[in-house]
């Protein structure tokens, strides 16, 4: 999908700027700040328990501004990550300076794989953040977000090595004839003369075996 959607800025009744994409308003045309505030209020209990939030869709950022403000009531260092497929929307939002700086990180682009190959993004997701959709963005980019949320990472060794830290990659130099990480480590254990680095990977394999994973999570 391209990002040739028509973006426009209009004034809400309250005087605030609002973003309109392909004639669809991304915020309340009456008062976008009040709308975002009400949304945060509904999430108050969840925000209280969670200092990590993943927001789906940026708009002009009123909802992000209010969420960040609300989070500060309960948390010293709240962290917000935003996913927005349309890079043009991000550029525009940045011009309006509504999205708070510092503890908000924006990830944009249409390649789902790119998100899931980013170590920082994965570390954030693995902390199980509260997911808050920006409904107009979600509706507009429904196909993208559906794919984003139902993504399945490849278990092929060739894909796995793409995300490895550069220091670890050389340990997988003989990867071509193996299809999965488990197979690679199993075969490593059959080597005639094991070296120090081999034991590092064998240790990882042994840890995986002890974690009682379901079929397919490491084996295949």
């Amino acid at each position: 999908m391209d990002d040739s959607k028509k973006l426009a800025i209009l004034k809400a009744q309250s005087g605030h700027d609002i973003l309109v994409i392909d004639n669809i308003e991304m915020h309340s045309k009456f008062n976008p700040v009040q709308e975002a505030y009400d949304q945060c209020l509904a999430l108050r209990d969840k925000i209280k328990k969670q200092d990590h939030i993943l927001i789906l869709g940026i708009g002009l950022g009123y909802h992000i501004q209010q969420l960040e403000f609300k989070m500060r009531e309960f948390h010293k260092n709240p962290v917000i990550y935003v996913v927005e497929p349309n890079e043009e929307v991000v550029k525009l939002a940045m011009k309006y300076h509504i999205v708070p700086q510092g503890n908000v990180k924006i990830f944009s682009g249409r390649s789902i794989d790119t998100y899931y190959q980013d170590q920082q993004f994965i570390d954030f997701l693995n902390d199980k953040p509260l997911i808050v959709p920006h409904n107009p963005s979600l509706n507009l980019e429904y196909t993208f977000f559906k794919k984003f949320l139902s993504h399945k990472s490849s278990r092929k060794l060739s894909d796995i090595t793409k995300v490895l830290h550069p220091e670890i990659k050389p340990l997988f130099h003989r990867q071509s004839q193996h299809t999965t990480l488990n197979q690679f480590i199993n075969d490593l254990g059959k080597k005639e003369n094991l070296v120090q680095d081999d034991f590092k990977l064998l240790a990882f394999g042994e840890l995986c075996n002890s974690l009682q994973l379901q079929e397919g999570q490491y084996e295949n």
Binding site: Q119, L164, L181, K200, A203, L207, Q214
Partner: protein, 536 residues
């Protein structure tokens, strides 16, 4: 310059605490060393509590598991995480690495490190287990799968580190503030109006006690008994943020009109709390080990003899009970009273299905002394003779403490037991000799190979029974599995040597049995003689 020592301890939380004995001794013996520990993240706070540990590295297995479990993430991130956890450990040049655990994971990690010296077990380049000493191999091969382990694993580890057992060195770091608070609070309980200031506080840890061993009714019965005794104050110890335990205390408090005392403690405050009570009743290994480390007497409760032998207390003041059937709560009360009043337990106990043990020590560490109970006598006896066999083999001298224990506690059972053991020893020896014969014949006629294998398997199967022969057979099996020569002829020669070695070990066991029997006979005769002289 200080030497850098890494302790690889991938045990559970109780096991991490138990390593404090080893670390305290290493610090005393080798003051010029910096001690680091590698453990799982969930044990980090406990590792930091151990005196002498300067830095703790952790493997975050929950994080790695969640990265592997979630389809969203590539498995590569789990690999990254593992290497990130271990980055400093991998990049450091260690003077000494002590592999405290005996798991395959800890062996692989140990083998992946750069170290001048490894103590414990590790894997070599052809994937065989290697050991730094005989004690390290006993720990891994002979004790790990034993039903009733004749030695505690920690004591083998101390020996493997060439460290003697028993120290008064501080083993855990005590937070001064926590200690002051615990001391002041518990003293004000002791000095409450209805006591004369001599009251003893009986800590009861209900973390798993209620679930696994005690019914709520039994616990109520024990509390009633303690309440009705002047100067005994029960104190229920709740783990921090444990709602289930809080609910149990609330339930109990209904019966006691809110008069029960309870305290909520996290792991960091627990040493101070345990130090300031007079006795702890617990079924939780972490609590037991921590109480041992701060020298608070304990009564530890177990549901199986196997778990008792694996995890029993180390302190000679303590009592361990394997609860069974409809056990008498009054006996637990008597155990408490016996520790507090220093009264001999054996004359006090009522007969029930449970087994009661106190702790004794020889030069190799603590062992269990059966005070009352009939259920496991034969197994306990076997375990004691195995201990005698291992320890006497090692120094080529009698372990007199164990001999004394055998004659004083099992005098009447010893001869019947020895007869049974001899029978099985003869069967094992016959199987062994037949195996040897068929092995030699198989060199000329390969059809004998399968008969040889049958006999060998029958022989190996005997190690699973709790017999005196099982330890040398475990070692034999371990060495058999290591045979990895390229030629069949060479394999047969190595096998033949191993069978001869086992034959020698079985002969030594026969000698041990004969020695024990004859000493038991002369002890009995001496006793009879003494009685006769007394009457005259």
């Amino acid at each position: 310059m200080k030497t850098k020592t890494l302790i690889v301890n991938l045990e559970d939380q109780a096991g991490v605490l138990e390593s404090a004995y080893l670390i305290a001794e290493r610090v005393r013996k080798y003051p010029q060393q910096e001690i680091y520990m590698l453990t799982f993240k969930e044990s980090k706070h406990l590792a930091h509590m151990i005196s002498g540990v300067q830095r703790v590295f952790t493997i975050d297995q929950d994080r790695i598991k969640s990265l592997l479990q979630n389809d969203l993430y590539s498995n590569g991130f789990a690999v990254n995480n593992f290497f990130k956890n271990l980055s400093l450990v991998f990049h450091t040049e260690w003077n000494i690495v002590v592999n405290y655990s005996t798991t395959t994971l800890s062996k692989y990690i140990t083998s992946s490190l750069t170290a001048d010296r490894i103590i414990g077990s590790y894997t070599n380049e052809v994937k065989e287990n290697n050991y730094s000493s005989l004690w390290a191999s006993i720990d891994d091969i002979a004790l790990k799968n034993k039903k009733l382990s004749p030695l505690k694993s920690i004591h083998c580890k101390l020996k493997a580190n060439n460290i003697s057992y028993g120290t008064n060195e501080p083993r855990v770091k005590i937070n001064e503030n926590n200690n002051k608070v615990a001391f002041s609070n518990l003293n004000s309980i002791r000095n409450a109006e209805h006591t004369d200031g001599e009251a003893k506080i009986i800590g009861i840890n209900i973390s798993s006690t209620v679930d696994s061993i005690f019914s709520l009714n039994k616990l109520t019965e024990l509390l009633e008994q303690l309440f009705s005794t002047p100067n005994m104050i029960p104190l229920l110890i709740i783990e921090a943020n444990n709602e289930q335990q809080k609910n149990i205390v609330n339930l109990l408090n209904r019966d006691f009109e809110n008069s029960l005392l309870s305290v909520e403690s996290d792991d960091l405050a627990l040493p101070s709390l345990l130090m300031n009570i007079d006795i702890l009743v617990t079924s939780d290994r972490k609590f037991l080990n921590l109480a041992n480390l701060v020298d608070t007497p304990t009564i530890s409760l177990f549901t199986s003899i196997e778990s008792l032998f694996r995890a029993h207390s180390q302190n000679t003041d303590d009592i361990s009970i394997v609860l069974s059937g409809d056990f008498s709560i009054y006996n637990i009360y008597l155990c408490i009273d016996s520790i507090l009043s220093n009264i001999d337990l054996s004359s006090q106990l009522r007969v029930d299905d449970s087994n009661f043990f106190t702790i004794k020590k020889d030069n190799y560490g603590s062992f269990l002394h059966l005070v009352q109970g009939e259920g496991y006598k034969q197994d306990i006896l076997t375990s004691l003779v195995q201990r005698y066999y291992i320890t006497s083999q090692n120094k080529n001298s009698d372990n007199q403490v164990i001999l004394e224990e055998l004659f004083s506690t099992f005098s009447s059972e010893l001869s019947t037991w020895a007869l049974e053991q001899k029978k099985s020893l003869i069967i094992s020896t016959k199987l062994l000799l037949r195996s040897l014969r068929n092995l030699i014949r198989s060199k000329q006629d390969s059809s004998f190979g399968s008969i040889f294998m049958d006999d060998l398997n029958k022989l190996l199967a005997t190690k699973d029974k709790n017999l005196i022969t099982s330890i040398p057979i475990e070692f034999f099996e371990f060495n058999l599995e290591k045979i990895n020569s390229k030629s069949a002829e060479e394999n047969l020669i190595i096998m033949e040597h191993l069978i001869y070695d086992l034959k020698t070990s079985l002969r030594k066991i026969m000698t041990t049995l004969a020695l024990i029997e004859s000493k038991n006979r002369s002890q009995s005769l001496n006793k009879k003689e003494t009685r006769k002289n007394g009457r005259a």
